[in-house]
């Protein structure tokens, strides 16, 4: 099984996130993207809703207009039927007056027909006007009316309903009018029962037919997008007019009739898979409900243009704000980068560099601290260099002290003197001691030497001095053998022994003893150089400890302070030299060094 690893490009791509600048700009960018995205989407939705509600209102107005249009046609039919209703000629013609002659009837017929014709002449929307008397007489707008013999007049819907309505007008659904022979026109019929002069008894039915084309044209002329349409239902929910009535009959299409009937005068959205549609229902006072249907996608005029402008503005805003975020993050991280550059300089070893502190911000604080740190580091470095220098100088002096010419001259004088005295044995001893002394002091470059060497060295030295001062000087060296393997700085004890001889014992007439001892004290070794010479007062002790390396006789001299300094530089502040002295009693110098193998 292979483990999923982030691909290389992703790792590379994420690398900038490790920088603060990268992270800040990424965070800004994402925040901005989210903010702009949400805002744009929201405002787009809001505008869409606004447009939708506007269109909804518009749709309502359009449908109302359609309703008013149809209403005006219906009103006209109504007016015509009222005119017939009140017409004296019609009343007389339909009345069962037995005194009317055939001729007279024809005259009435003609005048009524003329009236209808003139009405029809002014109204192109009316298909026909007819009156059917219960007495079998009928008259129409035509000169010659041949009724369709195969049509049962009294079974026609418009006839039955009008007779039942008792004088009120009745409007039919669109139908094919077939009462006139050979004529089959789609019409909407308005029928009304005519009353006799007492206004009680029915005399016949007046029929006014409106061409369905009129309603069709009105409905078709309404533009509700390219797919929207208008249809009409009656109060019972039957479709009065629908551009695709056949599809409805075949159940290939459904309209939410129930909702339309219960909706009253309002609008609602339907989403049944055939596209989200807005239904706007308009009541009319002739019982029909006019319904406008518009597709939501078309309601929003140029929805694409709207969305595009939103997208473009969002993109522009995004570009602008991204640029600003880039600049801003650049600006914010500039001091950090400056500090980083300074740090890099320090990394390369340049401690001279200082970050420029220009503000009271956190970064400024950081810069100040950095500067302080670099300064301190620099000071430490300088100090260290100084220390190294001092150490070298001390060692140089030490070396010089080894070949202290006076000591050498004196020793050589002593050797010569002994040679003249033919003290061969002593010459040999002294010369070999001198040789040992030099060997011990210049044997190696090592700073630290085994204590054995140091012991040899100090022993040789004391041997030489003993031969010079004879009874004036006695010495004892007591360094346990187990310490021989530990190390000590080179020529550690000689300066103290020298001091003990020259300043402590030399001027004592009875001479003195120098005792050298070493002991273990925990983790450190303590050497003591003790003499019973003149001793010093406290003041002198301090002077000796703090004295400079220069003696009052002007030549370089390994002072006590130098030894102390060497020990501290080599081993640290816990070690060093201490002096105890009593005038007239002697001096004890203690040198403490760590146990080092």
């Amino acid at each position: 099984m292979t483990r999923l690893r982030p691909p290389d490009w992703l790792k590379r791509g994420l690398r900038p996130l490790r920088t603060i600048h990268g992270t800040i700009s990424a965070a800004f960018s994402i925040l901005i993207l989210a903010a702009i995205g949400i805002t744009s989407l929201n405002s787009y939705k809001l505008s869409e809703e606004a447009v939708l509600s506007n269109s909804q209102a518009y749709l309502g107005e359009v449908i109302q207009q359609v309703g008013q249009n149809i209403q005006s046609y219906i009103d006209n039919m109504e007016n015509i039927s009222l005119l017939i209703f009140t017409n004296k000629d019609v009343k007389y013609y339909l009345s069962d007056n037995p005194f009317l002659s055939r001729e007279e009837i024809r005259t009435y017929e003609k005048s009524i027909s003329d009236l209808f014709q003139s009405l029809l002449y002014t109204r192109k929307d009316i298909a026909s006007i007819m009156v059917f008397g219960y007495n079998g007489r009928n008259v129409s707008d035509r000169r010659l009316t041949t009724l369709n013999p195969y049509v049962q007049l009294r079974e026609q819907d418009w006839y039955v309903k009008a007779a039942r309505a008792g004088g009120r007008s009745v409007i039919s659904a669109p139908h094919v009018q077939n009462v006139v022979s050979g004529d089959y026109e789609w019409v909407v019929s308005l029928s009304r029962e005519l009353k006799n002069s007492n206004g009680m008894t029915g005399q016949g039915i007046a029929l006014v037919d409106l061409k369905l084309n009129v309603i069709n044209d009105i409905c078709r002329s309404v533009k509700l997008g390219s797919r929207g349409y208008v249809f009409i239902v009656d109060s019972a929910g039957n479709i009065v007019y629908h551009p695709q009535q056949q599809l409805l009959y075949s159940k290939l299409r459904e309209e939410p009739i129930e909702r339309i009937l219960s909706a009253g005068q309002s609008s609602f959205l339907v989403d049944d898979g055939a596209g989200e549609r807005l239904y706007s229902v308009q009541d009319s006072n002739f019982g029909w409900k006019i319904v406008g249907v518009a597709y939501r996608s078309e309601l929003i005029a140029e929805p694409d243009a709207m969305r595009n402008s939103f997208l473009l503005w969002a993109a522009a805003a995004l570009a602008g704000t991204l640029l600003i975020s880039l600049l801003l993050s650049h600006r914010i991280t500039r001091p950090i980068r400056r500090l980083q550059a300074a740090m890099r300089q320090v990394e390369r070893g340049n401690f001279e560099v200082r970050a420029e502190v220009e503000q009271q911000s956190e970064i400024g604080q950081l810069e100040r601290t950095f500067n302080m740190m670099v300064g301190q580091t620099q000071r430490l470095m300088d100090e260290r260099i100084q220390t190294e220098e001092t150490k070298r100088r001390t060692e140089l002096r030490l070396l010089q002290s080894q070949i202290n010419p006076h000591f050498l001259y004196n020793t050589l004088d002593s050797i010569i003197w002994m040679a003249e005295q033919r003290k061969n044995e002593e010459v040999v001893r002294m010369t070999s001691a001198l040789a040992k002394l030099f060997r011990a002091s210049i044997a190696k470059d090592d700073e630290l030497v085994p204590i054995r060497i140091e012991q040899e060295h100090i022993a040789s030295y004391l041997q030489i001095q003993k031969m010079r001062y004879r009874d004036m000087l006695d010495y004892e060296i007591d360094i346990p053998r187990e310490l021989h393997l530990y190390k000590s700085p080179r020529i550690l004890l000689q300066p103290f022994v020298e001091n003990a001889i020259y300043h402590g014992i030399k001027n004592m007439p009875e001479g003195g003893v120098v005792q050298i001892a070493a002991e273990v004290d925990g983790d450190s070794i303590r050497f003591t150089v003790r003499d019973n010479g003149k001793g010093m007062d406290e003041e002198t002790v301090q002077a000796v400890l703090n004295a400079s390396a220069r003696d009052n006789d002007g030549r370089d001299h390994i002072g006590v302070s130098n030894v102390n300094e060497r020990i501290v530089l080599t081993f640290g502040a816990g070690y060093g030299v201490s002096i105890e002295s009593e005038p007239g009693e002697g001096t004890c110098v203690a040198v403490t060094i760590p146990k080092v193998r």
């Binding site: 369709n148 069709n216 551009p243 595009n308 993109a315 570009a319 880039l326």
Partner: protein
């Protein structure tokens, strides 16, 4: 600042640009593709049947928002003209062709070319018998025949003796209707006097039916397989006083037939729904174009109209097509 740190904002910008571009791309008008070409059997405005097919097709095109071109022969040489129209239509490379073939055998070459060009073929009205197609949208003409047989002999108390009259003996629709009738009235149970081609002439139909009534006094049914000649047949029966004893049954409607029905001179009309045929033809074409599954045969039920139900709202719409 290294230029590599620019990548993230740039990436986001790119992303935004992509979104915008995508949005703009989507805004391009929904391409209707090559659209749909509908080829009818006739473009004659006097043919209410084909005019209704046409309005159904246009209603579907409007509702589905597809580009639609309506073609149809106008001259006398309809079959030949239709061949040319189909050839032209294939050259125009529509996505789908809705075809009401007049004579399949004459269109053989074009139908193959249509297939080869990858144009979806929807057949309406008349079936294709020996060429492949994507869907057939029409009434079941055999079923129409069966219904006609039921109208002719509802109880079979009296043995049906009947004749077929037709104007076109080659018509596939006519032969399917006849097949349906014969299926319901097999030779043992009924007596078929055969099919007589009366052409397009009303006079020919009159004479044919008149001689049939004389030759076969027991005849009690005439099935007019196509729409022409019915008036002549009805007149012959009326003249012989046989309007009530001989059932005249026709297919589809025209004004003369409607009047015959109204007067009781005709027993029944089996009426197809041309509006739905046009509508479903285009709707099916659009669906097939988009790769949606449609049945090989989209059946459009036909209606049986008699004088009793001819003025019912549904039938009014079928019989009196509303052409504004």
């Amino acid at each position: 600042m290294g230029s590599k740190k620019l990548w993230l904002p740039l990436l986001l910008l790119l992303f935004a640009a992509l979104v915008v571009w995508n949005g703009l791309k989507r805004s391009e008008p929904a391409d209707a593709g090559g659209g749909i070409i509908v080829i009818l059997q006739t473009k004659d405005v006097n043919s209410s049947y084909w005019q209704t097919v046409r309005s159904g097709a246009m209603a579907a095109a409007k509702e589905l928002n597809v580009a639609l071109e309506l073609l149809g022969p106008t001259g006398a040489e309809a079959a030949e003209e239709q061949k040319e129209l189909l050839r032209g239509a294939i050259a125009a490379r529509p996505e789908a062709i809705v075809l009401a073939p007049i004579a399949e055998e004459r269109l053989s070459e074009e139908l193959d070319a249509c297939r080869k060009a990858g144009i979806k073929l929807i057949v309406i009205d008349t079936p294709l018998l020996s060429h492949p197609y994507d869907s057939y949208v029409s009434s079941d003409h055999v079923e129409e025949g069966r219904v006609a047989a039921d109208m002719l002999a509802p109880d079979k108390r009296k043995k049906p003796v009947y004749a077929f009259i037709t104007s076109d003996d080659d018509s596939v629709v006519a032969s399917q209707r006849r097949q349906g009738v014969l299926e319901k009235l097999p030779p043992g149970e009924a007596f078929s006097l055969g099919t007589i081609d009366v052409g397009k002439s009303e006079e020919q139909a009159y004479r044919t039916v008149k001689s049939l009534t004389v030759a076969y006094p027991g005849m009690n049914g005439i099935v007019a397989l196509t729409d022409v000649g019915v008036s002549g047949a009805a007149r012959a029966l009326e003249d012989q006083g046989l309007s009530h004893s001989v059932k005249l049954i026709g297919f589809d409607s025209s004004l003369p037939e409607i009047q015959l029905l109204e007067r009781g001179r005709m027993h029944a009309l089996i009426v197809q729904n041309p509006f739905n045929m046009g509508y479903l033809g285009v709707e099916t074409a659009s669906a097939v174009m988009q790769g949606r599954k449609r049945p090989q045969w989209v059946d459009i039920p036909s209606a049986t109209v008699t004088s009793a139900n001819m003025y019912e709202p549904e039938n009014q719409k079928l019989l009196f097509p509303f052409v504004s």
